[in-house]
């Protein structure tokens, strides 16, 4: 059984805003019967055509697809179109108290339907691509080369999801987009895309975010440790383990060559500097032996 949070279960068993809006201002449709999930999102705007006053959905899919759709409609009501466009798939997952990683593609589907609805309403160009199978998983606003032929997913769309969710493995990309989840022949291409995105994001200067929720902060600390710090230590035969995060206090234990190394104090300061640069100014790193 999937380990769904109580919020996911609640939104599945008692979905909010099911139905349609006959005079909707914006409608976004993604997915297909063949893919196993699909979402049709309806948005009604206020008289100024700026704020979303009502949202409804119809979803074909599993429990987390229904819950993600329900959550999405609740999240966007009352938002302006620009505010709504800022809702990310991670925000949908967070609203639900988290989704199993294999189900993250449900939150991506929600975010996409929203984007498609707003783009279409604004008359922005929505290029269509034809997938070779019946399996046209339409994320139609991303043109580009078709990578996953089974689910009809382009490189532009995959790069967007890889980048916004900081994905590093092909398995994660499958969990978030379904790409590579059927015949698997595009997995090498997905790995190339990950390398491209990682290369691009490494080249881009990274700055500290302005403000962070506690949850985001913890995530970011872990990410920086995994991506920026541990590879440096591995190069010298060392390693560290994250023991605890309490607000801005980060406890780490040094491993392998770093454990008991005379300069581990310096290493701890290096870790602290890096975290202060990339996460938050007030981070304090403490070394613990465990």
């Amino acid at each position: 059984m999937w380990d769904y949070t109580p919020i996911v279960k609640d939104h599945f068993l008692n979905p909010r805003n099911v139905g349609d809006i006959p005079d909707a201002d914006a409608v976004g449709e993604v997915g297909s019967l063949a893919c196993g999930d699909a979402l049709k999102l309806y948005l009604k705007l206020d008289d100024n055509k700026d704020k979303i006053v009502d949202a409804k959905f119809q979803t074909f899919g599993c429990a987390s697809a229904i819950a993600s759709s329900s959550a999405l409609t609740e999240m966007v009501k009352g938002k302006t179109l620009d505010e709504a466009l800022a809702v990310s798939n991670q925000d949908i997952a967070d609203f639900l108290g988290g989704l199993p990683e294999e189900k993250m593609h449900c939150s991506v589907m929600g975010q996409e339907a929203l984007e498609v609805a707003i783009f279409k309403y604004r008359g922005m160009d929505i290029p269509q691509h034809d997938s070779e199978h019946d399996h046209g998983h339409a994320y139609p606003d991303y043109e580009g080369e078709l990578v996953c032929k089974c689910f009809g997913i382009t490189d532009a769309f995959l790069k967007k999801v890889i980048e916004t969710n900081s994905l590093t493995t092909a398995e994660q990309v499958t969990n978030f987009t379904k790409a590579g989840g059927a015949c698997g022949s595009c997995i090498p291409k997905i790995k190339e895309l990950i390398a491209q995105v990682l290369g691009e994001s490494a080249a881009k200067p990274r700055t500290r975010p302005e403000k962070l929720s506690n949850m985001k902060k913890m995530q970011l600390i872990q990410e920086v440790l995994e991506r920026d710090i541990r590879p440096l230590l591995w190069a010298d035969g060392g390693d560290l383990e994250l023991i605890d995060i309490d607000g801005s206090r980060v406890q780490v234990a040094f491993r392998k060559a770093c454990a008991g190394c005379a300069s581990s104090g310096n290493t701890a300061r290096m870790v602290e500097m890096k975290l202060r640069d990339l996460v938050a100014e007030d981070i304090v790193v403490e070394e613990v032996t465990q």
Binding site: G36, L39, K40, T59, F60, C62, A63, I66, K178, G181
Partner: protein, 391 residues
């Protein structure tokens, strides 16, 4: 909440009588059957009795029974053995709808240079016997075909298939995990060389399986070590589970008639009532010969995981061939091999009954499922379009 357990092809309740039979062999009679002393010896004689009982259900001889840890081990051992005893043959034949215990093994062997042919099925899940005939050749080491399909219950003509395999000198193995205990099986006048069974599918505990190997069929063990099971499967015997399986096989023989009359009637009543109450549904494997306890029904425009979780709210336990429940992203390989239309492949639900299923339980499913399907169709963009004007 009291469970309504209609997922017996996944696993079964251990029969109380089976549990009583095995109970003394944990804390009291815990001896090693291989020991020389009386204390091990008394376990040995119960293991022998169990072997006789298993052989009795299969119409086999006790020395043809090898106890293993599970159906998967039996399947793996059978295929590996065939390749070792026929080292000059590099071709394996199986079907597209096998259980992963066979299919994954064969596909791994393909990576190691073996030629693997997967025989197809028709829309009702029936094996393409012509394709099988055309595929078996002098290079074929083993043909491994399931007796009955776990998802649809469709029964393969394994004796006929075995005759085709033997005509070219290949060995024949059948994964009979779903069939044993549900339909009569007799190895006495059979051409089948090897056959797998799993205890937990017939009211014995998990962790015990059997590989039947016909007397005179060459066999190479998967596990080597001690002399247990006449050196055909090393490792200390799981005595309590073996004794339980013996009892379970004895009971299965006693209940065989009920399985094919009472349980079958319940299954038929369930599927007939659901088909009558729910439009846009189809029985997977309809028209083929099927196990008496299994029915797999595909509902168009809805998704299986959502159905299962709503059924679960009523305590009803079933399973699905849908993608979302398995962690994979495509509907089951069985339904795809059968060419089930994509409009309903994602909405297939399998009910598998047992001798413990009651009429009241069937009534409850007949009552609760139609509104669940209607509710999900109301929510589905496709359901609305396709079902306009219908309730």
């Amino acid at each position: 909440m009291k469970e309504i357990y209609l997922d017996n092809n996944a696993t079964t309740k251990v029969d109380e009588a089976v549990f009583e039979e095995m109970r003394p062999y944990f804390c009291e009679l815990y001896g090693n059957p291989s020991s020389m002393h009386f204390f091990g010896g008394q376990v040995q004689s119960k293991v022998n009795e169990a072997r006789n009982r298993v052989a009795g259900l299969l119409g086999a001889s006790p020395d043809e029974i090898i106890f293993t840890a599970c159906g998967t081990e039996s399947d793996n051992a059978a295929i590996r053995s065939a390749l070792e005893v026929l080292p000059d043959r590099k071709h394996i034949i199986t079907s597209r709808v096998e259980h992963p215990a066979v299919l994954t093994q064969c596909r791994n062997l393909r990576q190691r240079g073996y030629r693997v042919s997967e025989i197809g099925v028709d829309g009702a899940g029936r094996l393409d016997m012509e394709e099988l005939k055309a595929t078996v050749d002098d290079d074929t080491a083993i043909v491994s075909l399931m007796w009955a399909n776990n998802e649809t219950g469709v029964i393969f003509p394994v004796e006929e298939a075995a005759a085709i395999a033997k005509s070219k000198g290949a060995l024949f193995h059948s994964d009979a995990v779903q069939a044993i205990g549900k339909i009569p099986i007799n190895m006495t006048d059979s051409l089948i060389d090897m056959l797998s069974l799993s205890g937990h599918k017939l009211h014995a505990p998990k962790g015990i399986g059997v590989l039947f190997v016909r007397r005179g069929t060459a066999f190479r063990p998967l596990l080597v070590g001690g002399h247990q099971e006449k050196s055909r499967r090393a490792g200390t015997e799981n005595a309590a589970a073996i004794i339980a399986l013996g009892k379970a096989c004895q009971l299965a023989a006693e209940f065989m008639e009920a399985e094919n009359s009472v349980v079958k009637a319940q299954r038929n009543r369930l599927q007939d009532a659901l088909m009558a109450a729910i439009p846009h549904a189809r029985i997977n494997g309809d028209g083929a010969e099927r196990l008496p306890n299994t029915t797999s029904i595909a509902f168009e425009f809805v998704e299986g995981e959502a159905i299962l979780l709503l059924l679960s709210e009523f305590g009803i336990c079933a399973s699905s061939g849908s993608a979302c429940t398995s962690g994979s992203l495509e509907p089951s390989h069985v339904l795809r091999a059968m060419g089930v239309p994509f409009t309903c492949a994602h909405g297939s639900i399998r009910f598998s009954l047992s001798r413990f299923t009651t009429d009241e339980e069937i009534d409850k499913v007949i009552r609760e499922l139609p509104p669940i399907i209607a509710r999900l169709r109301q929510m589905s963009p496709f359901g609305r379009e396709h079902l306009k004007g219908q309730s």
